[in-house]
């Protein structure tokens, strides 16, 4: 189970995680994109932190909506609309809730991923954040179906996201700026899949 306090802690730690991984994400993006992903994620979650500290949302849905709107307003690039849409859909899935059961957490990620797919129109194996998020959701749903406990569910989600992220290395990019590279995009890990893996990994670290 995840309380509203623990969910907020996830968002707060994400700010630190993206700040710490700023250069790592810049370096990954320099190789196949335009070198701004680390800067944008750091700026976005730093703004989220500032906005959340000014408000006291009544429930998890309202809190995630603040996260979404701040990301949409301050991230820019492709990551702004994509992560913004992820959290906006996640907020709708959590509307009115002050704690999440395992099934609610899985439903939250499912709604978020559906939003990303709709906004970005990427498919699996296009070398995008979908390649981390989609296998993570499959793994979490399977674990939930098996009756695994909450910790196992998110651990398996994060493990699948990590594998999915690593699987982007040999892929040929078909979406985003990396797709302009064609064959030259092969051999590089996708920065968006990496920031998405960090989302899951941080959930394990904070909730696990």
């Amino acid at each position: 189970m995840v309380s509203q306090k623990k969910l907020r802690a996830w968002i707060e730690v994400l700010q630190k995680v993206y700040a710490e991984n700023r250069q790592y994400l810049i370096d990954l993006d320099s190789a196949i994109g335009d070198a701004d992903h680390g800067i944008n994620m750091d700026r976005g979650f730093t703004n989220v932190q500032a906005d959340l500290s000014k408000t006291d949302p009544p429930d998890i849905g309202a809190m995630l909506k603040t996260v979404a709107m701040t990301l949409i307003r301050t991230v820019g690039g492709a990551a702004g609309p994509l992560y913004g849409t992820f959290f906006l859909r996640a907020s709708t899935a959590c509307a009115g809730k002050t704690e999440l059961q395992a099934a609610d957490v899985v439903a939250m990620f499912e709604a978020g991923l559906a939003g990303v797919l709709q906004r970005g129109k990427a498919e699996l194996n296009d070398k995008t954040m979908v390649d981390a998020l989609s296998p993570a959701l499959v793994a979490m749903k399977r674990a939930l179906g098996n009756g695994s406990d909450f910790r196992q569910i998110i651990q398996q989600g994060a493990a699948a996201a990590e594998e999915g992220m690593k699987n982007t290395i040999p892929m040929l990019a078909k979406k985003g700026r990396a797709s302009y590279l064609g064959e030259r995009s092969i051999g590089h890990q996708d920065p968006g899949a990496t920031s998405s893996y960090l989302l899951l990994k941080t959930a394990v670290d904070v909730w696990g």
Binding site: D34, I39, T74, G77, A78, P81, G176, R177, Y180
Partner: protein, 333 residues
């Protein structure tokens, strides 16, 4: 990295403050959300022309705001798309009741942010049409890429659509003209050196002293091919061949040409590039009827250039010649 900046995070707003102070007769700058708007906006009954994109391409787009061109421009962070709230606020600021045209360069982020902005504007009852510019022949247009990038034709489309809007043509017509310009225009760029995003602090890509990148994007994204440096004549030959064969431009066509500097190339070289291009066009029977030579869609301090050709007709040429008065482009006034 050596740059004339204070702090990387202050570059965009401080530069906007300079533009506002320098061109207060033409434009106003709004902060949070950031946008540049014509001093006399909104104009009743006129379609608002709104564009935007990452900063670092100056004078595009902010320097192209003014009579006969853009009504508003939304600057993002350096090389990062602006956000939907900027675009929505800018669109509202220029809405004179005739709707707005969003001119969007084909980059994943720009397209998604403008899509969200258009949804917000429509919800507020403002009629918005968006045209996505994708003129870069360096990128294969296929299901397997994000599609061709929007580059040089953006400047020409903004000038021509701005003139059509100034004549109070309606939104559908102005959008049709924009699509016509995009369909008949092609561009390609090349780089001699990299550029450095201020907040990243180092060059975006490595390139040897004796190498060039053909087909470079305007953010330092690699293009078609890395190859040994050649003469200007050979380089213009490669670029013009790719552009001319793509549309294709044919003998007897009249074209508007832009030879654009990427930010770090002097005019003496750009005029030489134009000379070489003029020779190529003469040889192929393509008639250059207008030309623009200078830095219009740049990539920070990158050295290099891009070439844009637009197949034109009487209607487009009249709109091109119509008066324009912006910080970076001015004639007929």
């Amino acid at each position: 990295m050596k740059k004339l900046i204070n702090k990387p995070e202050d570059l965009v707003p401080e530069s906007l403050a300079g533009m506002a102070a320098a061109h207060s007769d033409l434009i106003n700058v709004n902060y949070n959300p950031n946008y540049i708007v014509r001093a006399d906006a909104p104009i009743q009954g006129k379609v608002g022309i709104v564009s935007g994109g990452g900063s670092g391409h100056e004078p595009m787009h902010g320097g192209l705001v003014g009579m006969g061109m853009l009504d508003a421009a939304c600057p993002g962070e350096v090389f990062t798309s602006p956000t939907p709230d900027q675009m929505e606020a800018a669109t509202k600021a220029v809405n004179g009741g005739a709707g707005a045209l969003h001119i969007v360069k084909n980059y994943t982020g720009d397209v998604m942010n403008f899509e969200m902005a258009a949804e917000l504007c429509l919800a507020e009852g403002i009629d918005v049409e968006a045209v996505v510019i994708n003129d870069d022949v360096a990128v294969k247009d296929s299901l397997y890429t994000a599609g061709r990038r929007g580059v040089g034709i953006t400047v020409l489309a903004e000038k021509i659509c701005g003139a059509a809007a100034e004549q109070k043509q309606d939104l559908k017509k102005v959008a049709d003209i924009c699509r016509q310009v995009n369909a008949n225009g092609r561009s390609m760029g090349m780089a001699l050196t990299s550029c450095a995003v201020p907040s990243a602090g180092k060059p975006t890509f490595e390139i040897g002293a004796d190498e060039m990148e053909i087909g470079i994007g305007i953010h330092g994204e690699p293009g078609r091919e890395r190859m040994p440096l050649k003469t200007a004549r050979e380089i213009v030959g490669i670029m013009s061949a790719a552009i001319i064969s793509d549309l294709p431009f044919q003998s007897g066509d009249s074209v508007i040409v832009m030879v654009n500097g990427m930010g770090g190339t002097p005019l003496i070289e750009l005029y030489l590039v134009f000379h070489e291009l003029n020779e190529v066009c003469k040889g192929k029977g393509i008639k250059i009827v207008r030309q623009l030579i200078g830095n219009y869609i740049t990539s920070l301090e990158m050295a290099g250039c891009s070439i844009t050709l637009l197949k034109t007709n009487d209607e487009l040429l009249k709109l091109w010649d119509a008066p324009v008065h912006t910080p970076a482009l001015r004639w007929g006034v």
